[in-house]
C-alpha cells in the first residue's frame, strides 16, 4: 500500500532526524566515566565520542584503563559514575537496547570449545534474534574465505581464522557501533592487513568503530582519531597526524625518537613515559 509506505518513510525520516539530534552525530558517547575496583580508581572522568564512519583508537599502556573503559561501554562492569550512550540508548538504563546496537569482539576468543563454527554463528545469530539457514551461514563463511571451516571446532582454526570468525559474529546483526579489543594481537602481517581492510570497509559503510590496540602502527594506519589514556585519564584526543605535529618538539618525544623521524609511538612514549607497566 502506497500510503503505508509514505507513512513509514515520514516516520522513519522523523526518527532519523530525532536520533541525529539526540546523538549529535555520535554513535557512542562516553561522558565523565569513573570506574573503581574497591578503592582503586581505574578510570578517571573519561569522556570521548565516536561518530558513524569513524575508527576511534583507544591507546594506553597496560593497566591504563582501556579495558575497564571498554568493559563499561559493553555493560560488563558498572561504573561508579558517568553516562554512556550507544546509538541513543543509555547503557545503564537500556542495557539490552544498547547491546543490540553494538557488535563486540573481546580480547580473547571465547566460544564453547565443543561447538562447530557453524553452530557458534547460529547461536550468536539467535541471541540477536536472527534465524540463519545453513546456506546463509555457508555464504557468510565463504565471504571470509572460510567455507571449509563450518564443521570445524573454533579451536581448530588458526589465529587469523579465529579473528575473522569473531569479527563476522560481532557484525552478524549489523550493529551501528563496533567494539574491537586488541583484535590484531598475535596475528601475522597478512591477517592483520586483512583485518584493517575489513575495518575500513565497515567505516565506509558508516559503522562507528572503537578500537583498543597496543600497536602504534595499527593506530596510525587505520584510526581517524585517537585517545591516549594513562593512569585512568584521557591525556590527548586527536587525529594521529595532529598528535604528532602537536608534540614533535616535546623534549620527551624527541628523546623517545629512534630514527630521527617522529612517529606516533614516539609521541605515545613521550606522553606516557618509558617505564614498563605490569
Amino acid at each position: 500500500m502506497l500510503w503505508v509506505e509514505i507513512l513509514n518513510r515520514i516516520s522513519s525520516n522523523a526518527y532519523s532526524k530525532h536520533m541525529n539530534n539526540q546523538l549529535n552525530g555520535s554513535i557512542l558517547s562516553v561522558e565523565g566515566l569513573n570506574v573503581f575496583y574497591g578503592n582503586f580508581q581505574a578510570v578517571k572522568n573519561v569522556s570521548f565520542s565516536v561518530k558513524g564512519g569513524e575508527i576511534f583508537g583507544l591507546l594506553g599502556p597496560n593497566g591504563a584503563g582501556k579495558t575497564s573503559t571498554l568493559s563499561a561501554v559493553e555493560g560488563l562492569l558498572k561504573p561508579a559514575s558517568g553516562k554512556i550512550t550507544v546509538a541513543g540508548h543509555e547503557v545503564s538504563k537500556d542495557p539490552l537496547l544498547a547491546r543490540a546496537n553494538m557488535g563486540v569482539q573481546l580480547q580473547s576468543t571465547n566460544f564453547q570449545p565443543e561447538l562447530h563454527v557453524e553452530e557458534i554463528i547460529r547461536l550468536y545469530a539467535g541471541v540477536h534474534g536472527l534465524k540463519l539457514e545453513k546456506e546463509r551461514i555457508r555464504q557468510i563463511l565463504a565471504e571470509i574465505k572460510l567455507e571449509d571451516a563450518a564443521a570445524k571446532k573454533f579451536g581448530q582454526l588458526s589465529g587469523g581464522q579465529q579473528q575473522r570468525v569473531s569479527l563476522v559474529i560481532a557484525l552478524l546483526h549489523e550493529p551501528q557501533m563496533v567494539l574491537l579489543d586488541e583484535p590484531t594481537t598475535g596475528l601475522d602481517p597478512q591477517s592483520r592487513r586483512q583485518l584493517w581492510e575489513r575495518m575500513e570497509a565497515l567505516r565506509e559503510k558508516g559503522h562507528g568503530i572503537l578500537l583498543t590496540t597496543h600497536s602504534m602502527e595499527e593506530a596510525e594506519a587505520v584510526c581517524d582519531r585517537i585517545a591516549i589514556i594513562d593512569h585512568g585519564r584521557v591525556i590527548e584526543v586527536d587525529t594521529p597526524n595532529a598528535l604528532i605535529d602537536k608534540h614533535r618538539n616535546d623534549e620527551a618525544v624527541i628523546k623517545a625518537s629512534r630514527k630521527g623521524k617522529i612517529t606516533l609511538e614516539d609521541v605515545f612514549i613521550g606522553l606516557t613515559g618509558t617505564e614498563i607497566r605490569e
Binding site: 539490552l96 543490540a100 564453547q112 547460529r122 550468536y124 539467535g126 551501528q176
Partner: protein, 254 residues
Amino acid sequence: MQTIPSTKDSLMALMRADFTTQWRNRRSAIMAILVPVIILISWKGIAEKTGAAFVLSNAISFGLTAIGLMGYAITIARDRDKGVFQRLRVSPIPTWTIMMSRISVQLAMILILTLVVYVVGYNVDKISISPIGYLLGFFAAFIGGAVYLGLGQMIVGLIKNAETVNSTTRLIFFFFIMIGVFGELAPFADMGSFGKVLSYISKYSPYGTVRRILSVAMEPSKWSPETTISLLATIGYAIIFSTLGIKWFRWNSK
C-alpha cells in the same frame, strides 16, 4: 537501529547450543549415569532385604550428586574461565537466560538419569514400584536435583579457579558417596553417642534428606513427620545454596 530480540528466541538459541555441547560431552554425561547403574548392579543382592525404594533412591541420589557437582559446576567453572559467559553477556539477552539454558540441560539429565535407574532396576535387579511411585520419584528427583545444582552454583560462586572447582566438587562427591554408603548402611548404633551424632548428621545431610524424600516418594504410604522435616530441609538446602550461589557468583574468573 536494532531492537531487542525476543527472550524466547534467545533462550531457544542458547538451549540449542547448550544441548549440542552436552551431546558432544556425552562421555562425561554417561559417567554421571554410570555410577548409579553400577550401584544398582552391585546392590542387586541387598534389594530384596532393603526394598526397591531404598535401592532406587540411593542410586538416583548418587546420580544427582554427580550431575549437580560434576556436570553443572565443572562446566560452569570451565566456561567462565574461558570467557564464554562474558562473550554472551555482551549480547542483548537477559543474563538469567544464560543460566536458565544451562539448568535446563541439567534437568534433562536428571530426567534421563531417573529413567535409566528405573529401567535398569526393573531389568537387572528385578525391582519395581507402583506407577504413582515412579511418577512421584520423578518429582522428588527434580527437587533433589535442585539441591545439588544449588550446591554446584555455590561452589562456583565461592571458588573462581576452574581447576580448584574441579577438585573440590570431586572431593565433595566422594564425601557424599561415603555418607550414602556408611550413613545408610553402617551400624552407627554400635559407636555409642558418637554414632548417634554421625547417624543424625547423615540423616539430615543434603544427601540424607534427598535420599529420604526420593525413597518415600516411591512409597507414598511410608510418609511420616520425619519425611516432612526431610522435605523442608531439602527445599531449605536448595534455597540457601542457590541464593548464596547466585549472590557470590561472578561471571568473570579474573
